[in-house]
């Protein structure tokens, strides 16, 4: 048991060293370590009071790109409907949907800073898919937040779903897209997203 612990610690230390040196041995990291690393980067940005909001947003966008797999996440959100979209529609959907998420969750995240994130454990959900269980601890309560990650082709663990207070973001969007696509076409869905992005910018 302790031997394992020592090895895990070593792995972390070595990974950190390599990271510092500029290499990126991300493959070596477990899902939990990967998520912890990304979340800590987010917290660092949020806690840096010298940064302007736009700078913070830009930094968060970069971290988001490293941490999440937008295509995988979008596929999960659309579910079987993904197949209804043409290649061109998919290429438009990905950045549009990303902008919606960025704006709303960016606002939300920027509003927080005093939270402590506790990393509890990782639970396998399927082949190459793991749920990393964490809690955001605030003054008044604890909010369970679970990150679902999968191993992409390069072997990196990427997030494709976030479950906050037991509500899966992916399944929540899926319920909305399902309903919209049951009555409308993919083009109509894209139009709704375009409008949403526009209104967020206004």
């Amino acid at each position: 048991m302790t031997g394992k612990t020592v090895i895990k610690r070593l792995v972390v230390v070595v990974s950190l060293l390599l990271l510092v040196l500029g290499a990126a041995p991300v493959q070596a990291a477990t899902p939990l370590e990967t998520v912890r690393g990304e979340v800590n980067k987010v917290l660092e940005v949020l806690r840096n009071k010298s940064l302007k909001e736009e700078v913070k947003r830009e930094k968060l966008r970069v971290i988001y790109g490293e941490m999440f797999d937008q295509e995988e996440l979008s596929k999960w959100c659309l579910g079987p409907n993904w197949k209804k979209l043409s290649e061109a529609q998919r290429q438009e959907f990905l950045p549009l949907f990303q902008q919606v998420l960025e704006k709303t969750y960016g606002d939300r995240i920027l509003a927080y800073s005093d939270e402590k994130i506790v990393f509890d454990k990782e639970v396998p959900i399927a082949k190459n898919r793991v749920e990393v269980k964490t809690r955001a601890v605030t003054k008044s309560k604890e909010i369970p937040m679970h990150y679902r990650v999968f191993q992409d082709k390069s072997g990196t663990w990427k997030v494709y779903d976030v479950v906050v207070e037991n509500v899966s973001l992916v399944m929540n969007y899926r319920s909305q897209f399902n309903e919209i696509l049951a009555k409308g076409t993919p083009d109509e869905l894209l139009e709704i997203l375009r409008k949403k992005v526009k209104s967020q910018k206004a």
Binding site: T30, G79, R108, V118, D120, I125, V167
Partner: protein
């Protein structure tokens, strides 16, 4: 005409609630104790609060998506993966019938306005006067008074460790916690975690389905099952026995304002992130309630020594993690 089903549902709910009698006492609102239950307005927005009955319909997604499409194969080793339902926990694939959708959407709009026009401004003014720690204590105080709801429902679910946990929590918090203003029992040292059980969950654990979706004015998302749950819980909440009625209304209203003040921004975020806020809230509500029914009690999540990658199984009194699927 639209109101007929509603009236019937309400009537039926009342009947059932009464049939259970006092022993069925459980909490009315409830899901999360953090926020008070159904007080007007506030309740609507915290998903935790409302019980609703959901129906576990399998996600429609299931059948159409078969992994055979050649198109997906092209993407590489992921090709055999079906983005339908296979790896999604059952709790999240939940859907619910919504025969009252036009009425529900109207009520959703009503609650939305109530929040932005009344509850939020009042709660903001209140927050300006009372600092956050004090408001957290007020929330703890009401939560402590809701102990009977949780205790009774733990018992109804034969969750005896949970019931004992609630009993000790109540004794500790009512005494050394200064009448419930503080929560020493839930602190790191003692670790008695609140068991968020309510009558809607109890019914769910007996196999009662949600039925269909209802949005009540003031109270927010619910279902026939969770509405019955709310009524049952009403009887085990001491505040319900305040007399005369206007004192009761006043206290519940105050509780609603206090709760709202602690969660300003939550509803806004849900709404902002949604493509269709009504659908987003409906889905979040049923996912949340379904998970509550599946879980027994609060999972005590005490991380062990904080070792990277080391999974620490949940442990502690009354903890029982939901089965992983």
């Amino acid at each position: 005409m639209k109101f007929l089903p509603l009236a019937l549902a309400l009537f039926a709910s009342v009947l059932v609630g009464c049939a259970h009698g006092p022993q069925a006492v459980s909490s009315p609102v409830l899901g999360g104790e953090t926020q008070p239950p159904a007080t007007p307005a506030v309740a609507s927005y915290s998903l935790e609060q409302h019980p609703a009955s959901l129906q576990l319909a399998q996600n429609e997604a299931a059948s159409p998506a078969t992994p055979e499409e050649p198109e997906e194969k092209a993407e590489g080793d992921e090709s055999d993966f079906d983005y339908g339902t296979e790896d999604v926990p059952a709790a999240e694939q939940v859907t619910i019938a919504d025969p009252l959708e036009p009425f529900n959407r109207a009520m959703f709009t009503f609650n939305d306005r109530l929040y932005f026009w009344v509850m939020k401004p009042v709660a903001q003014g209140y927050s300006a006067v009372l600092p956050e720690p004090a408001r957290v204590s007020v929330g703890n105080f009401f939560s402590n008074l809701r102990s009977p709801i949780r205790l009774v429902n733990c018992l109804l679910q034969a969750h005896f460790i949970g019931a004992a946990t609630e009993l000790f929590r109540f004794m500790l918090n009512s005494t050394i916690g200064l009448a419930g203003l503080f929560d020493p029992a839930g602190g790191e040292e003692i670790g008695l975690v609140r068991q968020d059980e309510d009558f809607g969950q109890t019914l769910g654990s007996y196999g009662v389905g949600q039925g269909f979706y209802i949005v009540w004015p003031f109270l927010g998302p619910s279902s026939p099952r969770d509405t019955v749950g709310m009524i049952g819980d009403y009887f085990s909440y001491p505040i319900s026995y305040l007399d005369p009625w206007y004192v009761w209304i006043g206290v519940r209203g105050y509780q609603a304002i206090n709760d709202t003040s602690l969660q300003i921004g939550d509803y806004e975020a849900i709404k902002e992130a949604a493509i269709d806020p009504y659908l987003a809230v409906r889905n979040a509500y049923i996912q949340f309630r379904q998970k509550k029914v599946e879980e027994r009690g609060a999972t005590i999540q005490r991380p062990g020594p904080d070792i990277p990658g080391a999974g620490t199984p949940a442990r502690g009194v009354g903890s029982q993690a939901a089965p992983q699927q």
